[in-house]
Every structure is written in structure tokens, then in C-alpha cells.
């Protein structure tokens, strides 16, 4: 891997007389790390796909081997991946992305009601509607940058949330939430004589509940990951990283930065729409609470926890958060007693007493602590921790490889 900078054919056609990349080490840590080769990208994609599809096996020992939670990992992984395209790549922190998540859910449920229980139609519509919505909000919010941009997005999201409860009740069904029912027209289903009586979303006949539901979400997550990877390495991706690094220079270099940012905003809004649509697919119900600011804050936390601007980080951050939310919140004193069963009685009581505030309803305390620890000690998120460990590991082996395979995943 001594020529990790270029593909071999490029080396042949160019750089005659130069000695590319030999004995040559990149210094410092960049936003994008080292430009990765396409081979290592596809290797990463393959490993990622394998890891996602086998989650039911390797996550079973920690109690997460059931479809409901794994679906959540995948869906919020998509949400965070898209959010990272805006926040991680271009540096613009949106505090209102839950608006697009909610919009996606509503759009999908409306498709279930009007046209068909087929998930594909619902998801396409969810992505389109969220994209259009993002175009409008982004167009206005991107007139400002920094904290003002964040506040504008937050204001828009809260506005959407309140509208869903008030003026837009005919569309959102207010506090009850939007649901499918037997009396829905479902025009396409009736036309083709396949009315899904049970009101379960399907993928051309496969009901998307339980394991099929998880695998459907997982495949979409892998696709979303692949697209994000392409964007990251593309010219467009490079421009976003350049805007994050020095927007002034971008202007004086001849780029109209706002359209680039708007494109990133819309793309990440579409990811959120897809995630929102998938939430409706796995459970055909849409409520306005999905648009609340806490949901917007959640995706920010996921991204920072995992590693801003990295490829894998947001997915890992989403999984960690959903795990804490689903599993830790279900722990009670009984579980703790069993966990510390091996200790002498007094010590067991003591351990249960000091750990019980961190589980059950107190799971957010654990999350808060974890978040603090990560931000203070690993500003680059969990991915930075992984990178540090792998560096140490590599150094421990005595630096046999001359060229570091620093690829910034």
C-alpha cells in the first residue's frame, strides 16, 4: 500500500520521473483524513454491510438481538448519516432536522391511506416531500451562518411542530396522530385487487414487520451509507469540506457557496425524510412529537457521540443512543440485583443503590455522562477513540508498514 495516494494507472500515465508517495508520510489530522482509495472504500462498504446484516447475531448477547430495536438502529443510523452530510461535511449545525423526520412520517402514512400499503411508494413520497420542505426551510435559514443559522432552523422546526398540533390538524390529525384504518381509499391496492386488510406496510407482498422489517431497513441503511460515501469522496463533498474549513476563501476562489450549502441541506433533509418514512413503515403511525426539538437535539448528540464528519461515526452514535434509550431504560432494580448477584450481600445492595439512578428512567443520566466523557476526552467522538486505539496497536507491532493506511473513516 505504498501508493495509496493514486491508483496505479494514474501513476503510469503521470509523474514520470517523480517518485510518488514513496517514503512519504502525511502529517497532521485533516478534516477528511487522507484521501482514501476506492479499493479501501469498497472494503469498508463490504465490512459495513456484513456487520449490519449480522447484527441480529452479534448484538444478541447484549440483549439487542430483536427486530424492534435493530430497526431503530438502522432508521436512526440513516437519519444521522444524512444529518452528518450537512453538519459533519459543511459545518452547518441544524437544530431542526426533526421537522423533516416528522414530515417524512406524515407523508408516508398519507400514501398508505390514499394509494397503497406498498412501502416503496410511501418512501419515495416521504423523501420528495421532506426534500421540498428542506428546500424551503434551507433557502431561508441559509441566509445566515453560525449560531443564527442554528436558531433559524430550530425556529422553523418548532413552528412545524406547533402547526401540526393546530392549523394543520386536518393533515396531521393533531394529538391523536395520523393512522391507517380499514376505511382508507388505498386506490392502487383496490385497483390491483390486493387490499392489505391488516393495514401492514409491505414490500411487494412481503409484510414489513419483525425480521423482514429489519432487513428492509438494514438494506436501505447500507444503500444510504454507500451514497454518503460517494458524496464524501465526490467533488461536491470536497466543496462542502472546503466551506467548513474556510468559507471566505471559497468565495474569493470563485464559488457561490450558498447553493452548495442548500444542496447539502436538501440532501440531508431527504435522508431524514427516508428515516421518517421508515418509522412509518415499521409502525404505520405518525405523531407530531417526532418533530419536537428534543428529537432534533437527539440527532446532534448521535453525530457528535459517534464522530462528526466521519462516515461510520453517526451510525455508531445512533446505535449507542438507541441502545441506551431502549435497553437501559428497561433495567429495573430486579435486573441490577441479578447483575450484582456474585457480590456479597452488603456490597450487592451498595452497588444496586449507586447504579440504580443511571438505569430505568434515569437512562438519560447515563447518556449525559457518556456524552460529557466523549466530548471532553474524545472530541472526535467514538471514531476518534477507535482511531487512537488502532494507531497504538499499529505502533505496537513495530511499524512494519511504511505507509500508514490512514483513511479517515
Amino acid at each position: 500500500m505504498s501508493q495509496s495516494v493514486m491508483t496505479p494507472d494514474e501513476n503510469l500515465s503521470k509523474n514520470m520521473g517523480r517518485s510518488p508517495a514513496e517514503g512519504h508520510e502525511p502529517k497532521g489530522e485533516g478534516l477528511r483524513g487522507f484521501m482514501s482509495s476506492s479499493r479501501s472504500d469498497y472494503l469498508l462498504l463490504a465490512i459495513f454491510a456484513l456487520a449490519i446484516l449480522t447484527m441480529p447475531i452479534w448484538l444478541a448477547p447484549i440483549g439487542a438481538g430483536y427486530p424492534d430495536i435493530l430497526q431503530k438502529f438502522a432508521i436512526f443510523g440513516i437519519f444521522a448519516l444524512g444529518f452528518n452530510i450537512l453538519f459533519g461535511f459543511s459545518g452547518y449545525l441544524s437544530f431542526g432536522h426533526a421537522a423533516f423526520l416528522g414530515t417524512g412520517s406524515y407523508a408516508a402514512v398519507w400514501m398508505f391511506k390514499l394509494l397503497s400499503m406498498n412501502a416503496v411508494i410511501a418512501l419515495v413520497f416521504a423523501i420528495v416531500v421532506a426534500g421540498v420542505f428542506a428546500l424551503l426551510i434551507g433557502y431561508v435559514s441559509l441566509r445566515r451562518s453560525g449560531i443564527y443559522f442554528s436558531i433559524l432552523t430550530l425556529a422553523f422546526a418548532q413552528m412545524s411542530y406547533n402547526l401540526a398540533y393546530s392549523v394543520l390538524t386536518p393533515i396531521t390529525n393533531g394529538e391523536t396522530g395520523l393512522q391507517v384504518s380499514g376505511s382508507d381509499p388505498r386506490i392502487l391496492d383496490h385497483m390491483f385487487g390486493s387490499p392489505s386488510g391488516r393495514g401492514v406496510p409491505d414490500f411487494f407482498g412481503i409484510e414489513l414487520q419483525g425480521w423482514p422489517g429489519f432487513y428492509f431497513c438494514a438494506i436501505l441503511l447500507i444503500l444510504a451509507f454507500f451514497v454518503t460515501m460517494r458524496i464524501r469522496n465526490s467533488t461536491f463533498g470536497l466543496m462542502l469540506f472546503a466551506i467548513k474549513s474556510n468559507q471566505n476563501r471559497m468565495n474569493y476562489t470563485g464559488f457561490a457557496t450558498r447553493p452548495y450549502l442548500l444542496a447539502a441541506f436538501v440532501i440531508s433533509g431527504m435522508y431524514a425524510g427516508l428515516a421518517g418514512g421508515l418509522l412509518a413503515v415499521t409502525d404505520p403511525l405518525a405523531g407530531a412529537d417526532r418533530m419536537q426539538w428534543t428529537a432534533s437535539g437527539e440527532v446532534v448528540l448521535m453525530t457528535i457521540l459517534g464522530g462528526v464528519g466521519t462516515l461510520l461515526g453517526p451510525v455508531i452514535g445512533a446505535a449507542v443512543m438507541k441502545y441506551l434509550e431502549q435497553i437501559f431504560s428497561s433495567f429495573n432494580e430486579g435486573v441490577l440485583h441479578r447483575t450484582f448477584d456474585f457480590l456479597p450481600h452488603g456490597l450487592q445492595e451498595f452497588m444496586v443503590t449507586i447504579t440504580s439512578p443511571f438505569v430505568g428512567e434515569g437512562w438519560q443520566l447515563t447518556l449525559g455522562l457518556l456524552f460529557m466523557i466523549v466530548v471532553i476526552f474524545l472530541p472526535g467522538g467514538i471514531m476518534e477513540g477507535v482511531r487512537r486505539i488502532s494507531h497504538r496497536f499499529r505502533r505496537g507491532r513495530g511499524e512494519t508498514n511504511a505507509a500508514p493506511a490512514h483513511d479517515g473513516h
Partner: protein, 253 residues
Amino acid sequence: MTSEILSIKGVSKRFGGLRALDDVNLGVRQGSVHAIIGPNGAGKSTLLNCLVGRITPDEGSVTFDGGSLLGHKPHQINQAGIARVFQTPEIFGELSVMENVMIPAFARKDGAFRINAWGRARERGEVRDEAEHILDDLNLWSQRDQIVNSMSRGDKRRLELAMCLVQHPKLLLLDEPTAGMSRADTNNTVDLLKKIAERGVTKVIIEHDMHVVFSLADKVSVMAQGTVIAEGTPEEIKASPKVQEAYLGGAHL
């Protein structure tokens, strides 16, 4: 031969009560190196800011290559062919040297906005060629994969120059390119700028170092208190008693 690529006529700019620019007239000939000198606060950088669209003058006109520059955004002005090197390098600190040079090359090839979210940036052959060429030229080839933040100050300045040159600008604006440099670095920069001058890129250069000015410039304008007080060849400026009085404090050069 003697056509003006840039002409500034009657430009004034006020900031509150301060007259930063007061009826500035300046013409830059195609292919020349035009130096602007003057004491701090004379309005040199303000004038440069008017040229790149950072600020809009209150009065006057700025014509470049047959069209007016006024009312255009910085990116439009760059696309028209003006590149600027800043007093403190404006570069992409977190990206690699290669990426830093490829980005401006993309601006030249793809224009102000074009989305290519699929093709790999580093596999755009023409852009890579340009970038590699300029890195080779400016002795940055061996550092091409280095993250810019970890480079020395002098290298950063050279990189910013490379970023401007890769765009093949019609007009290059240099704001104190040797400020804070050692004598040796200054000499290297002068040699480099001379090398570029041979290619016929028109340059406007703001500089305090008289050695640099007199070894590079074809023409010198002296600014003081927001206006041009003298203009001429380096020899004329050196000899002008008015300039020595106003700017050089009477010191003999």
C-alpha cells in the same frame, strides 16, 4: 500594448466620519506589475477590498477587462479573472495541500456552482494535472499530502500563491506577500514573483518592503490619507521629493 486591464476612477469610501478612500484614480496596464505603497492607514487594503467585492465604494467606478466590477459578489469577481493573496493566508487549513490547490482549479473548470456528488474528486484528471503542475512549479510537490495547518508560515503563503496561480488569473492581487518574512524568505518570494511575472500575469502588489517593490514593480503608486499622491516608475518615485516627504519621512533611499 498599453491598454489598461484595470482602471479605478474617482473611487471614494467613507466609514462613518472617516474618509478611507478619497477620489482614488489608478490605472493598471495589461501585463505590468503595479505596486501600491504608503503608510499604514493610507487605504491600500481598503482599495483592494473594493476590487474583490468585499466592500462597495460610495462613489466612482472600477472597470476590469471591459466590464464594471461594482455590485458583483466576490465569487463573480473571481470568475471574471481576479485572484487575491491575503495578508494572512486564507487557505483550507484542515485539508491537504493537493486538495487546497485542486479546489481553485475546480472553480476554473466547473464555474461557481456545479454539483457532482458521485464522481470522485481526485479522479478528475484535468484538475489533478493542473494542480500537480502548479505544485511542482512552486516547490510544494513533496508536501502535497500534508495537512495545511501543519505547514510553516512561508509554505502557507506559497500555497496560497499556488491556489491563485492554478486559476490562471488575468489579474493577481497580492497584499503584503512578504510581511513578517525573514530576509531569505523574502528573497525567495521575490524570485518566485519574478518567475511568475515572466508569464505575463498582471499584478497589483501592496508592499512595505522597498527592496521588494523596487525589484519587482514596473510602476508604483503612492497612497497617503486615502488618496494617490504620486505615481511613476520606481526610479521616479525614488527621486520624488514629495514622496520622500510624505511617506519615507525624508530618508534617503
